[in-house]
Amino acid sequence: MSSEATLFYAFAAIAVLSSLLVIGQRNPIYSVLLLIASFGALSGLYLLLDAPFAAVIQIIVYAGAIMVLFLFVVMLLNAPREETDEDLDREAHGETHPLLRPGPMRLGAALAVGLIVELVWALTKGGGESGQFPAGAVGSVGAIGRSLFSDYAFAFEVTSVLILVAMVGAVVLARREASPGPSEHP
């Protein structure tokens, strides 16, 4: 087995295991930290794919900024642990929607497993082409930058508007309302 294949399987195992643990945790802080591990493994996979730009922004933007935002909110809200099934049964017996009771939620998990099986089957079945990657590196950071500011310049500018809207929206939503009417405080 070549070293590339070894690295691929190592990173893939880390990504899948930590993602599984993310959804297997009841404590959101552990979930966020495990997701950072998963993103690190994905960054390694991007390096294997000759995509250094994606690998670096995966670490800087995702693991560095977005996950820290999640961690910040988890700690701000004092990380309430998720209620167990027994708590929910005692607390809201008969009031919960039928689709939200524990049994049907297991059905949702079963459907997700079905989705894995179908996707993997569909991807491995149609193996007509070898699917091998062409030789030679693609997508150096310089080429990406040139393309981003020429072909994709409009989308790039729209992105800045999107960020601005998201920022204003987050501030407006999370602001604490001191009084019911905005006219009360000038």
Partner: protein, 100 residues
Amino acid sequence: MVTLNHYLVLSAILFSIGTAGVFVRRNLITILLSIEIMLNAVNLSFVAFGRALGAADGQIIVFFVMTVAAAEAAVGLAIVICLFRLRESLNPESFVSLRW
């Protein structure tokens, strides 16, 4: 030899894990994290397709997806903070006022 199919299968597995997380978790923050897992699975297939086609456009799409994910996380977490102030709970079953 690692081929495109390897990456696509890995991407499918990660996406399904994210889907399962949305179904089985009852914590708004963990549900948002599961959505991030799904976005990353799609990013992985974009980069793999870009490598297979020999073009840099895959990574540019990843850049835009990450921007949208950042905006989604910011607004989503602001909504979570609002909801937590309202009900002192992160359980989605606490927020049923709009339910028919």
